[in-house]
Structure formats: structure tokens, C-alpha cells
Amino acid sequence: MGKLLEVNNLSISFTQYVQGLNRHDLKVISDLSLDIGESEIVAVLGSSGSGKSLLAHTILGILPYNAHVTGDVKFNGEILDQEKKEKIRGKEICLIPQSVNFLDPLMKVSQQAVGECKDDNERKEKKIRQREVFAKYGLDESVDDLYPFELSGGMARKVLLSTALLNDPDLLIADEPTPGLDSKSVEETIQDIRKLKDQGKGVLLITHEIDVALKTADRIAIFYSGYVIEINKVENFLNSDNLLHPYTKALVDALPHNGFKLTEGVQPLEEVSGCPYYENCPISSDKCANNKPELIEHDGAMIRCFNFNKAVSEEVVDEVVSEEVVDEVVSEGPVEESVSEEIAEEVNGEEANDGA
């Protein structure tokens, strides 16, 4: 059985200019791989600003011009180039966007849902279909003539969902569908997404709320510092012993008291030469400092860690090495100074990878 969507070794970086017009490359997503089958919900879980929306935008071919992308995206086994993405977006793959800001503020919502039409006939047909779908999600006719700013949070969510479903896509990408909603609307949204799965659709659920991911998804991909570090079945998240990556384990262990929120700001922003979790890792070894672990398959799950199958107690943290690396990371001062260092590090990292 072919996968509905496959993302292989996707990396996204941006070229930026900082004060003094010095060039600065910002790597947001590194070597991301992921797949989704029919009737499957895969959640991508990562903190805000970690590049989750960019993943969605890559699949739809709507990245900004200054984004540099490597890797590929396959849909039904076929590689999607820009031209194909433009052909199937809005038809076979639809986006449920992050907020009501994704609607034109000056156009009535039904008009936007109907979208572009070739002629009046098509417009009429689409209008009927739009009413059907809107009605199905409990949006009565008065909603059709509202402007986006007049929608309440829950209503906006339903409008965005119905808009995405108008063309009966095979794959839906839901980008943060729950923030800012009251708990009843969150519950409804989760149910709505689960129903899509029952209709045979694939869903890529993007979220930073771990409880939503747990309640909705079949599999969860964990994003850390631009890397996917683990992809595992949702059942395995019930007990951290079944998880593989030390970060995921820590995350799940901490669940009850951190309010199901991902901790922000602890992930290194600059490209490091070794494992991105090295600094915080309780089971790290020498190798982790300067080598990047690959994402490998293990027992039906995906894992990016050298030492995942070693027991924690066996590990001895090498003080000398870790101090060196801490120095290195700390010494990265203002961006201007760090550019050359960064290039040097990148080269190191590549060599190390080749060796591994």
C-alpha cells in the first residue's frame, strides 16, 4: 500500500540580512522525514516558531521566495514539484489554516469559500455545495454574509474547516486548529478531525499542544530544534518506557505538572555540530557532541538518537567534552561574529556525518 504523503529529508533555510547587511543563513527545518497513510492522523508536535507551519507551506508550495528547500515531498507515490503542487492544492490537499487572519478581511466568508469560478454555472454549483458543507458544521445562512472579523473563535474555526472540505480532499493539513478556543470548541474540533479519518482521509495535524495531539492523532512526530527526533504511535505516549528519545521521555514524564505545554526557549537556535539535544541529554556520550544522529527506524517507530536502546543508568556523562561544547555554544555572541564560526561548524558537522 502506497503512502498518501511522504516527506523525505526536507530541510528549509532562509537567507537573511542583519544590520550592516551581513548575510546570515537561518536554518529552520533540518532533515525532516515523515509519512501519512489513508485514514491516518499524524500530529507534528513542536513549540511555536519551530517551523511547523513552514512544513505545511512546503507541501502546498507557498513558501516565501527567500526560503531555500532541499529534500522531496511525494503524494500518492509521485514527487511533487512546484507545478504539481499548484495543480493539486485546494483539490487533493487542503489546508485548514492557523487563524482567521488567513481569510481576506474585506471579503465575505462564503465568497471566499466558493473561491474563483470560471462562469456563473460553476459559481451556482459551488455555492450550493458551500451551503451544504457549512450547514453540516452548524453554520447557518447568516454566517455566509459575515466578514471574517465578525466571526467568533469557534465559528471561524468551523468556517476554515468547511472551506477546506469544500473540494473533498484526500489529505488535510490542519495548522494549529485549537489555540484560543474554549474547551468545548476544542473538543468539537478534535471530534471533527477524527471524523475526517473515519471518512478515509489523511490528516497532518500541526500543533504545539500535546494533549490535543494525544487525543487526536494516531502517530506523533516530535520536533526539536528543527529536527524530527522521534515518531511514535500514540499508545506509546501513555508510558514513557515505551518511548525512545530521552527528550520525549522527559516530556511525557513531565506532563501532569507542566500543563501539557511544550517548554519553549530551551532548544538551541544556532546550528550545533552534534546532536541538538546534547546539552540537556542525560544519556549523552562522546559521540553525540560532534556527530549528528540520523533518523532511523526501530520497531515501527522512527528515532534520532545514538543511545536510545541503552539503559539510562549505564551512561556516564563525559564532563570534559560537554564543557567544551558548552563553551562553544556560549561563545556565540552577536550574529556578525558568529557567521564564520557557524560555517566552520557546518563543515565540521558534514564531515562528521560522512564519517558516521
Binding site: H57, L60, G61, I62, P64, Y65, E86, I88, R89, G90, K91, C94, L95, P97, Q98, S99, N101, F102, L103, D104, P105, L106, M107, Q112, G115, E116, Y147, F149, E150, T163, N167
Partner: protein, 331 residues
């Protein structure tokens, strides 16, 4: 379609009227004082090279009020204004109001035609450049705008005059109506013939800033979330430009065009001077050079009202056409 809360509008207009009144009083007083403080002797400037006797000079001095104190003169001028009169023009020898009405009407044709032309073409060029950002079309349009924004309006006028009037001979060189002569005896066709080149100059100069504005606006719309989502819904590029791009930049562009009355008036002064077009611009220059103080002050007041009107219309459009702001009608 647009429902306007008339009570709110009335209140808005009332406040604006008060503002305008205060503005006019202050500007009238300040410009009067500025002229009075000028070391340029109004009597001499008025008489120019003519030779007159001491007695005549004294009479003229009294006419200009040089023997009164500054405060008295300011109050005198303001009270004349309050009575609805702007005094007599010294060079045209008729009431200032009459000169302004006639000259301003002539200029209005010039200004309105070039305002509309530059509005339409400026907007279209801006949309084209913005949609095609980074391509050669965009670069050509941007270069054109850069160059026009850096060239003095009157020089563009001179170049066009040289090409179309002197070299090609398609249009008159102007200078047919001497300064100081009010009544025109030209026919409609003669007048239209004289209008084309100045209006053309004013249009191509006026296009630049609107084009750049529209272009930048469209580029920021192209980066907006709703533009992305429209793309994600599978709409075509030009469809999105038409349905969402233009929808979102048209109002700001119209607003900007109304706010450009200031530059429009300035451009008119220069262009009329180059083409000897008998309008308010020429009258301004004549009044300034020959110290026709009542006329000059009258023109300052009229042009202030003109600029204010443009900004007011821009304000109204901005507040009453956008549904998000219209939504606040009820409070």
C-alpha cells in the same frame, strides 16, 4: 451597500469643520505676519521699474498700511476676512475672490484631468510591478518612478515643451495671455490645445509616487496570510491579484491619491509657469513677485482649503468604506 451612520458622520464633519476654521485663522495670521516682516518693500516690488513721485509713494504706503503697527494690521486683515472679503487684487484690479474663482476654475480642469490620469495609470502600473516583483517589467517601472521622483517637475515640463512644441510643433509655446489680463478670449479648442501638454506633464510626474505606493502595498499583500491561503485553496495567481490584491489595495490607493492634493497644487504652480497656462499657479507667482499681498494671502487660504478637502475625503473613505471600521457605527 455601504450603510453610513449619518449621526456619526455629522459629528465627524462638525469636528473637522472646527479644525479647519482654527487652521485657517492661524495660517491666515501667520502668512500675513510673514509677508509683513519681509524686508522686500511691497511698494517698490509692486511698482517695479516705474518711476513715481514722493507723494504717490506716500499714498501707496498708506494703502499697504505701512504706517500701522503689526498687531493692528493683523487684526485688520483678519476682520476683513471674517466679513467674507479677501480684499482687492492689486495687479488684476478686481476683488481677490473674483480672480481666484476664475483662475482656480482654469487650474481645476488641469488638476482634475491629470489627477484622474495619474490615478488610473499609477494604480495599474503599481499593480503590474507589484505582481511581477523582481522581473524586468518591475524593474522598468521602478526605474521610471525613481527617475521621475528625482526630476524637478518644471524640467520635465521644459523637456516636453521642447519636444512637442518647439521640435514637433504640435502645441503652442504659450505666453499668449499676458500676466495681469483676466478675461480670456480663447476658444474651447484653443484652450484644450493648451491644456494637453501641461496636463500630460502633471500626469506623468504624479504617477510615480502612486505607482511606488501601490507596488509596495501589493507586495505586502502578497506576503499576507490570506494571500497564502487563497493560493493554498488553488486559486490562480492573477485571480488572487484581482479578487484579493486589488480588493485590499484599492481603498488605500484612492486614499493616497486624495492626500496628494498638496503635491498636485505645487506641481500646478510649476507647470503653469512653464507652459504659461493662465491659472492659479501663474497668479500665485505673479502675486508673489509683485507683492500683491491680498491675492497671495487669498491663494494661501484657498489652497489650504483645497489640501484640507483632499485629506478630509481620504479620511471619510478610509473610515466608511472598510467594513471593519464601518462596524463601529453603532456606538
Amino acid at each position: 451597500m455601504i450603510k453610513i451612520n449619518s449621526k456619526k458622520l455629522a459629528k465627524f464633519l462638525g469636528l473637522k469643520a472646527v479644525r479647519l476654521l482654527i487652521l485657517l485663522i492661524v495660517i491666515a495670521a501667520i502668512s500675513f505676519i510673514m509677508i509683513q516682516l519681509s524686508p522686500i518693500d511691497p511698494v517698490r516690488a509692486y511698482l517695479g521699474q516705474r518711476i513715481v513721485s514722493q507723494e504717490q509713494l506716500a499714498i501707496m504706503g498708506e494703502y499697504w498700511g505701512t504706517n500701522l503697527s503689526l498687531g493692528e494690521r493683523v487684526m485688520g486683515w483678519l476682520s476683513t476676512l471674517a466679513s467674507g472679503s479677501m480684499g482687492f487684487s492689486l495687479i488684476y484690479r478686481v476683488p481677490v475672490t473674483e480672480v481666484i474663482v476664475q483662475k482656480f476654475t482654469a487650474s481645476l480642469t488641469l488638476m482634475v484631468s491629470s489627477w484622474i490620469i495619474s490615478g488610473i495609470f499609477g494604480f495599474l502600473l503599481g499593480v503590474l510591478a507589484g505582481a511581477k516583483e523582481g522581473t524586468w517589467i518591475d524593474k522598468v517601472i521602478k526605474t521610471y518612478c525613481y527617475i521621475l521622483q528625482s526630476s524637478p517637475t518644471f524640467w520635465i515640463g521644459l523637456v516636453l515643451l521642447m519636444v512637442f512644441s518647439v521640435y514637433l510643433g504640435w502645441f503652442p509655446i504659450g505666453l499668449s495671455v499676458p500676466i495681469g489680463q483676466l478675461s480670456d478670449t480663447v476658444t474651447f479648442w484653443q484652450w484644450l490645445h493648451r491644456l494637453i501638454l501641461p496636463a500630460f506633464t502633471l500626469s506623468i510626474v504624479g504617477i510615480a509616487s502612486l505607482t511606488m505606493y501601490t507596488r509596495d502595498k501589493l507586495i505586502s499583500v502578497k506576503k499576507s496570510d490570506y494571500f497564502l491561503f487563497a493560493q493554498a485553496r488553488g486559486e490562480s495567481f492573477w485571480g488572487i491579484i484581482k479578487n484579493h490584491g486589488i480588493r485590499n489595495i484599492l481603498i488605500p490607493a484612492i486614499t493616497i491619491q486624495f492626500m496628494s492634493f498638496n503635491e498636485l497644487f505645487g506641481g500646478t504652480i510649476l507647470v503653469e509657469q512653464v507652459f504659461a497656462y493662465p491659472g492659479i499657479g501663474q497668479a500665485t507667482v505673479a502675486a508673489g513677485l509683485r507683492s500683491d499681498v491680498p491675492l497671495l494671502l487669498g491663494i494661501v487660504i484657498i489652497s489650504t482649503i483645497f489640501v484640507f478637502a483632499g485629506n478630509l475625503i481620504a479620511d471619510i473613505i478610509y473610515q466608511y468604506v472598510d467594513p471593519r471600521l464601518r462596524g463601529e457605527d453603532d456606538d
